[in-house]
């Protein structure tokens, strides 16, 4: 069983913190660098357990990721964490030159990606990170859909040499997956629901909304396939081509600018393998705004990051497809 049978929510950051502690127990090479956000990132748990392996360098992200690079040069598996607004927001150069170019064993795991940051507003709503990170050679980009995926992917990236960027969300969200360790592979998308009339390819928080959209469409007689494309780079081109061929229309959904993110990556793959209409759902190249926690759903509504919008995109893509 790939999907969870019970309906519950869980915290991605908590899952990250727990996974780090667990990894640190058996592998003394695991170290973590934080930037005055360790409580929020839940890496503090790791620091409490292994204080000598936790380095809080304060609000200095360029230094943060470069220190992580140095740790990895000396043989450590370095996790570097703060908010997505600052990693990669403030240090794309260091990530590119100091980590990716020499293929260092640094894992950038960040939270507060996308609009769901909420009250902090646009300055903190990182909606460009997939675009910038996936354009850097050697970098791999992961955007897990729930806490279960986080738990397993953290272990996978810790044991896979080289640089990774993984973005988590701030709010707790719906648990999609049952707890199967073999459900996740870098470079492979997961088909969560099969369908024949169209495919929704989503990542992160939009995966649960994609499932919701598929359900709604099903009631209208449209059979929708739903893919969780948590591995945005490397991306599962074979699966994308297969979906294009078998369902004839694709909608993508992401909590990111529609430029350069998952929608961009999927479009690139579709164009070059089996061209079919694609419709991207995401932030439409605009900055976000503040919203209190209880207003987040409305915020997402206002910016079109909803199941309704995904369903509309599916209809649009299908209407442009071969009849």
């Amino acid at each position: 069983m790939l999907l969870s049978s019970e309906k519950k929510t869980a915290d991605m950051r908590g899952a990250y913190g727990d996974a780090l502690v667990e990894l640190g127990k058996d592998d003394s090479r695991i170290v973590c660098v934080g930037g005055d956000t360790t409580d929020s990132l839940k890496t503090k748990k790791f620091g409490d357990k292994y204080p000598e392996r936790m380095f809080n360098v304060g609000i200095a992200e360029a230094n943060l990721v470069s220190v992580a690079a140095g740790l990895s040069i000396a043989g450590k598996i370095a996790f570097a964490s703060t908010y997505a607004a600052f990693i990669p927001g403030r240090c794309v150069d260091q990530i590119r030159n100091t980590i990716c170019y020499p293929y260092l064993n640094v894992k950038l795991v960040v939270s507060h990606g996308g609009l769901t940051v909420g009250p902090d507003g646009a300055s903190h709503q990182q909606i460009e990170d997939i675009a910038s990170m996936r354009a850097i050679p050697n970098m791999r980009v992961l955007l897990p859909a729930d806490a279960v995926a986080v738990k397993h992917l953290i272990k996978i990236i810790a044991n896979t040499p080289g640089p990774f960027y993984m973005r988590l969300a701030r709010p707790s969200n719906e648990v999609i997956y049952s707890d199967q360790a073999d459900a996740f592979q870098i470079g492979r998308g997961n088909v969560l629901e099969d369908g024949s009339d169209a495919t929704i390819i989503a990542c992160g928080l939009m995966v649960s909304r994609a499932l919701e959209a598929a359900k709604a469409l099903h009631k209208k007689g449209v059979s929708c396939r739903v893919v969780d494309m948590f591995s945005i780079k490397p991306i599962d081109r074979d699966l994308i081509a297969k979906c294009a061929r078998e369902t004839g229309a694709i909608a993508t959904a992401e909590e990111h600018n529609i430029i350069g993110g998952l929608g961009g990556a999927v479009s690139e793959a579709v164009c070059e393998t089996y061209p079919v209409p694609v419709k991207r759902v995401g932030v439409r190249d605009t900055f976000g705004e503040s919203a209190r926690d209880e207003e987040i759903e409305t915020l997402l509504d206002n910016y079109g990051l909803t199941a309704t919008e995904i369903a509309r995109a599916v209809v649009d893509a299908r209407s442009r497809g071969k009849k």
Partner: protein, 551 residues
């Protein structure tokens, strides 16, 4: 296995020569490439050389040796100098430096961390991919933290530039190193005061650099970054510091080594024309050292005499040890040198005019001389080899001296590999103040030629009656170390005397380089590039009108 662990073992002249070789390879690489950064390569040459050839624990045969010291070159545009340093240290063949910046070369414009994935674009020994400024210190911190975590005894050395100190990240790193009390981290600031657009203090002032680093909880030392003895001294002190990272502020001259490039912002990132390469190499090879002999002049305490010439920036202190038997006079012995040692970090160039040097050499080793020269007339081949071995084992430059009527013994040609200096006496040793014997000049020319043919890489030292009137003659005969006694201490004006000696050395050099340029058919080009340097020597070189006409 070539593991180098440094004590006080500087082997001064060998270190100077290696750094000279680094500059020579670097300029060839830059000239071949048609681009690159000679300025930064040259300002940092002594810093990198002292680290790689003396201070760092590393093994070119095992670049990933677990216990190695790390070097992070944060100012990675000094790549030509860095690559040449690695090559001279033994990481790869120096010839490869000529592929610098070319398509398909392992020597990328900015050095790339060596790994299996990057083996076509990097060379062993490069730990860090630089190019973007201000990052390396943070990386060094990461390595230092990991070393502490693993309980390792190794050290991390980071070279940073003053231009890149504009970057905020330098100061983020500065705070972090202080926080973690990283006493296994030593940063060296190449304070050459020039960045791409001009002088640092115009673009973005860094002064007071020392105070800034001290305020960030670093232990700060300040040195002349072209004085290897000061660098060695500071690095030794750094290893005694606990609970603090160390910053060595190394005052340097950008482009140091080629006079028209020195301290000239134009040469930050420009290659010299390829046709000038040979002349530039000659200039680099012609580095001169001035070594005042403290037995000259009036009797006063030697500390004072040393202090007076130290102020004038002389290179070494020449110590004439005479035992009253090998030569008729008696001066001082190892016990005196030992006391003087405390008064200066200037290298001691001890010239032992003593009967049985092998019996006494250990005393002079113990007194921490930097160069020890014994007389060919005072030892057999086996005795000299024994002396040489002991000196090399203690990191002291070995030398041999010959009297005016003596020739270089044939057996010396079997000892050249570890020979750093040959003193060719131009007076009969025994007293200060004697008259220069011009008849040694042809001998100096012949000896120098023959030694070079047999692979001698050290220095010829002229000793005896060297002054402003004779310096140029011994220079032209091949001498590059000048012992000056009366010429320095004989009159009242030490400052003026040393300026005059340097001026004469410069005239000799400029004349030689101009001749070389003329032979290559680039006389006018050379004068154009060199005009501002040549002006003070134009009269003595007889080129006043010609130089005036050069636009």
């Amino acid at each position: 296995m070539m593991i180098i662990v440094m004590g006080f073992n500087m082997r001064y002249l060998d270190l100077k020569r290696k750094v000279r070789d680094v500059r020579m390879w670097a300029i060839q690489g830059i000239a071949e490439a048609g681009s690159g950064h000679p300025g930064a390569s040259f300002s940092a040459a002594e810093i990198m050389g002292t680290l790689y050839f003396r201070r760092m624990k590393h093994d070119p045969a095992k670049p990933d040796w677990d216990e190695r010291d790390y070097f992070i070159n944060s100012k990675a545009h000094s790549a030509p100098g860095f690559y040449s340093t690695l090559a001279v240290a033994g990481y790869f063949q120096p010839e490869e430096v000529k592929t610098l910046r070319k398509l398909g070369s392992r020597l990328q414009g900015h050095p790339v961390r060596h790994s299996e994935r990057q083996k076509d674009h990097s060379v062993p020994g490069v730990e860090y991919s630089g190019g973007s400024e201000g990052i390396g210190l943070s990386v060094g911190i990461g390595i230092a933290l990991a070393s502490k975590l693993d309980g390792k005894k190794n050290r991390v050395f980071v070279l940073i530039g003053d231009g890149e100190s504009n970057e905020g990240q330098i100061w983020e790193a500065s705070m972090a190193a202080g926080k973690y009390k990283l006493d296994n981290l030593v940063a060296v600031l190449d304070r050459n005061r020039i960045q791409q657009d001009g002088f640092t203090e115009d673009i973005m002032p860094l002064d007071p650099a020392k105070d800034k680093w001290a305020a960030f909880n670093w232990q700060v030392f300040e040195v002349d970054g072209h004085r290897v003895e000061q660098l060695v001294d500071a690095l030794n002190k750094a290893s005694q510091v606990h609970d603090k990272p160390v910053m060595i502020v190394a005052n340097t001259v950008k482009g140091n080594g080629i006079r028209h490039m020195a301290n000239n912002p134009q040469w930050h990132g420009k290659a010299p024309p390829k046709r000038q390469t040979e002349v530039l190499l000659e200039e680099l090879e012609s580095e001169c050292l001035i070594a005042p002999s403290i037995i000259a002049g009036e009797r006063e305490n030697y500390e004072n005499k040393i202090r007076k010439v130290e102020r004038e920036g002389v290179d070494m202190i020449h110590l004439d040890v005479m035992d009253g038997r090998f030569v008729p006079n008696t001066t001082f012995f190892a016990d005196t040198i030992k006391k003087l040692r405390r008064s200066t970090s200037l290298p001691f160039d001890a010239h032992l005019m003593i009967e049985k040097p092998l019996e006494q050499v250990d005393e002079y080793i113990d007194a921490r001389c930097d160069v020890i020269t014994v007389h060919a007339e005072a030892c057999t081949e086996n005795e000299f080899k024994e002396i040489q071995d002991r000196l090399i084992a203690n990191g002291i430059s070995p030398g041999i001296a010959i009297n005016p009527e003596t020739d270089v013994p044939e057996w010396l040609y079997g000892c050249l590999h570890n020979l750093d200096v040959v003193i060719i006496m131009s007076v009969n040793p025994g007293f200060a103040g004697q008259k220069f014997m011009p008849e040694v000049l042809p001998k100096m020319v012949a000896v120098n030629k023959k030694l070079r043919e047999h692979g001698f890489k050290g220095y010829i030292e002229a000793d005896g009656g060297i002054d402003a009137t004779t310096l140029q003659q011994v220079y032209d005969a091949g001498a590059r170390i000048f012992v000056a006694g009366n010429a320095v201490y004989g009159g009242g004006d030490i400052h003026g005397a040393i300026i005059q000696l340097r001026h004469k050395a410069a005239v000799a050099l400029e004349g030689k380089l101009l001749n070389h340029a003329t032979q290559l058919g680039i006389r006018v080009d050379w004068m154009k590039a060199r005009k501002h340097i040549l002006i003070p020597y134009a009269n003595e070189l007889g080129i006043e009108e010609e130089l005036h006409a050069v636009k």
